[in-house]
Structure formats: structure tokens, C-alpha cells
């Protein structure tokens, strides 16, 4: 494999996850705040406006810092002395690092919701008199695709056990993927029937939020099954040198697919307007 191709793909990973997507995210956040200003929708913002500006700034700065580290890493890979056997670990480790600012963003969103619940002085609580179903939140096709891919993966592992590869983990692969999927099923259940995170959220928006999370889980499950099969096949065919490149492409495609299927807009923002007296 030409190492320049790997460098190019890794550079794309650095720019996509730590420059392009954070900028897009911040633009979305800014746009939302302009469209639904705190003065008109105070219940959407439990903290003062400067807090959100600072939060956006720090998200972007940390992302840029990680991008700079990524470029440094790339420079070291190109010009320094390195053992290419570690490329896969570098790609994975760096990908995890790239998720630190996103993880912080998620944590701060959870803190916001907790504050929203604490500040909620409403004596009235409402709920829909309808059972939330999985297929209302996500497309059945996606669910069946994830199940199908898992079955194919299991069959693939069963087939692979016929061969005597020393490195092959055998049924441990099935156990790992089953555990990951079981965690996904638990999170899905919590999204559909668990405690409400946002005290003001309408029923339709709750379903949208649940759908977003479940869709990410399903796409991750499909991608994980696919990548695991691809990885085992590449190793069996002696294409080990391509693994880091495939891993980097996998991470990027996964993130892009996930974001493409994410619905940022809510349906009902009026629930965040101040309550009129007597209503």
C-alpha cells in the first residue's frame, strides 16, 4: 500500500472531525440561538447567554487544538521514524481523542437538562396517552438491516472458525458484538420508555430525540458488523497493511452517515416560551 494514501485519509479524518464538523456544529448552535433567542424562549436556556457563547468557544478551541495535534502526528508519521505496525492504534486512539470535545458537549447538554428540571416549577405534568413504539421513532428497514447484518456477521464467524488462523478470536467476536448490541437495546428502551430528560419537551419532539439516538445506535451496529467482517477478511487475505486506512475511512463514513441521519430541528418550540399567567 502506498503510505501517501494513508496519510491523505488520515489528514481527512483530522480535518473532518476536528475542523469541519465542529465548525458546522457551532454554526448550527448559533443559528438556533438566533432563531429562538433566550428573550423569547427562556425555558430553552436555563443558563445566561454568555455561558453558551463560552461553551461554543471552548468546544471549537479544543477541537482546533486536537486538529493541531493530529497534524503534528501526521508530520511525525511522514517525516519521523515510526513502526507502521502501530498505525491502526494511532488511528483509533486519535479518533477517541477527537471525540473528547463532542463528549464534553453531550455532558454539558445533560447538565442543561438537569438544570431545566430543577428550575421547572410547574405543578402540572403532562404525557401522551399513546405507547411509544420503536417503528415510530426509526424506519423498520434500518432495524431489520441491523438485525440482518448481525446475523450475517454471526454466520461469517461460524464459517471462519473452519480455518485455523492463530490470530482469529473465533466466537469471542460474536460475544463482543452481542454485548455491544445488548447495550444498544438497553439504551433504545430507555429512550422510548425511560425518564423524560427535558421537562418541557413535546411528545413529538421526544420521539424525534429518541429516533436520533436509536438511529445512531443502529447505524453503529451495522457499521461495526461490517467493519469487523472486513477487518477479519483483510487479515485472512494478508492485506494487513490496508487496515489503518480502512479503519480511518470507517470512522469518517460512520460519523458522516450518523450526522446525515440526525434531525437537529425540533417541532414545537412554543413549549419553551414563558408561561402566561393563568394558562
Amino acid at each position: 500500500m502506498n503510505p501517501n494514501l494513508f496519510y491523505l485519509v488520515f489528514l481527512l479524518q483530522v480535518l473532518l472531525l476536528s475542523v469541519f464538523l465542529p465548525r458546522r456544529q457551532v454554526a448550527l448552535m448559533k443559528n438556533m440561538m438566533n432563531q429562538y433567542p433566550p428573550a423569547e424562549y427562556p425555558r430553552l436556556y436555563p443558563q445566561p447567554e454568555p455561558h453558551y457563547q463560552a461553551s461554543r468557544r471552548s468546544f471549537l478551541h479544543i477541537s482546533y487544538l486536537i486538529a493541531a495535534a493530529g497534524l503534528g502526528l501526521l508530520g511525525w508519521m511522514i517525516f519521523g521514524t515510526r513502526d507502521s505496525g502501530w498505525d491502526q492504534q494511532i488511528v483509533t486512539g486519535y479518533y477517541l481523542l477527537q471525540f473528547v470535545p463532542w463528549f464534553r458537549l453531550d455532558l454539558s447538554a445533560l447538565r442543561e437538562y438537569r438544570l431545566m428540571r430543577m428550575l421547572n416549577r410547574e405543578s402540572k405534568r403532562s404525557a401522551g396517552l399513546k405507547r411509544r413504539r420503536l417503528f415510530e421513532a426509526v424506519s423498520p428497514l434500518l432495524v431489520y438491516a441491523a438485525i440482518g447484518m448481525y446475523v450475517i456477521f454471526c454466520l461469517f464467524i461460524v464459517w471462519m472458525t473452519r480455518f485455523d488462523y492463530e490470530w482469529f478470536g473465533g466466537y469471542l467476536n460474536v460475544v463482543i458484538l452481542t454485548v455491544v448490541n445488548a447495550i444498544g437495546i438497553f439504551i433504545t428502551w430507555r429512550q422510548l420508555h425511560g425518564k423524560r430528560v427535558d421537562p418541557h419537551e413535546s411528545e413529538a419532539d421526544r420521539l424525534i430525540r429518541a429516533g436520533n439516538t436509536i438511529r445512531i445506535l443502529l447505524l453503529t451496529s451495522i457499521a461495526l458488523s461490517l467493519y469487523a467482517m472486513l477487518s477479519v477478511s483483510m487479515r485472512a487475505l494478508g492485506l494487513d497493511a490496508w487496515q489503518p486506512l480502512a479503519l480511518s475511512v470507517y470512522f469518517q463514513v460512520l460519523v458522516l452517515f450518523t450526522l446525515r441521519n440526525y434531525r437537529f430541528e425540533r417541532q414545537d418550540y412554543d413549549v419553551y416560551r414563558p408561561k402566561m399567567e393563568g394558562s
Partner: protein, 125 residues
């Protein structure tokens, strides 16, 4: 169809739930055969204890307004709309009124009736 629980309302929360489900059936906002949320879903959405919702569901099931079909969940009873008009409290009051009248006519005092009623309630609990 939304239901609303008012924490400041002196009416018990399970009673508010029962009343609103019955109102929803009467207004045809929910139809016979419609799936209702699970006890846990409703309890989580309303931030109530699941025992409160379970009690409301038990009473609605007793009144045949809803029915539980094993693991498939809880549904609106096929005859729910006719059963919603039955007011159990009024029925009980009617039966007790007749009994009270008969006992007073037989010469029983109010305190005797009250003691006997309390004893019976405690015995059959």
C-alpha cells in the same frame, strides 16, 4: 391525546389519571383497541411513582375500561365507552343508602352501624 396531572390538585393523582382516561374514552380521543402506554412509560413521563400509575390501571381494568393482554401490553377495552358511564362511587353510595335505611328502620343506632361497618371493613381487608 395528552393527560395532565396537577400536583396541587387535592384529588389523588391516581384518581386524576382514572378520570382523564375515562374522559378520553368518552370524547373518543382514544378508541377501543388502542394501545396505551406501559405503566413504566406513563410513570416516567409524568414523573410519578409507578405504583400510582399501576393503581390507576388496576381500577381502570376493574371497570373494564382497559384490558391487559399479557406481554403485548395494555389496550382500551372493546366496550370501554359503555363502561365509562358507570360511576362506581355512585353505585356504592346507592347500595349503602338502601342498607342504611333498612337498618335505621329496624332500630339500629348510627354508632352501632358505624362500629359494625368498621369491624366488617377490618375483617374483610
Amino acid at each position: 391525546m395528552q393527560i395532565q396531572i396537577d400536583m396541587e390538585n387535592p384529588e389523588p393523582m391516581y384518581a386524576q389519571l382514572v378520570r382523564q382516561v375515562k374522559e378520553a374514552v368518552k370524547k373518543e380521543a382514544i378508541q377501543p383497541g388502542d394501545a396505551l402506554p406501559s405503566i413504566r412509560q406513563l410513570a416516567n413521563d409524568l414523573e410519578l411513582n409507578s405504583k400510582t400509575v399501576a393503581k390507576a390501571y388496576r381500577l381502570l381494568e376493574r371497570d373494564q375500561v382497559i384490558q391487559t393482554r399479557g406481554y403485548r401490553g395494555t389496550f382500551v377495552h372493546p366496550e370501554a365507552s359503555s363502561h365509562c358511564t358507570i360511576d362506581v362511587a355512585t353505585e356504592i353510595r346507592g347500595v349503602l343508602q338502601k342498607t342504611l335505611k333498612a337498618m335505621r328502620n329496624a332500630g339500629a343506632t348510627d354508632s352501632e352501624i358505624r362500629i359494625a361497618f368498621n369491624d366488617l371493613m377490618n375483617q374483610t381487608r
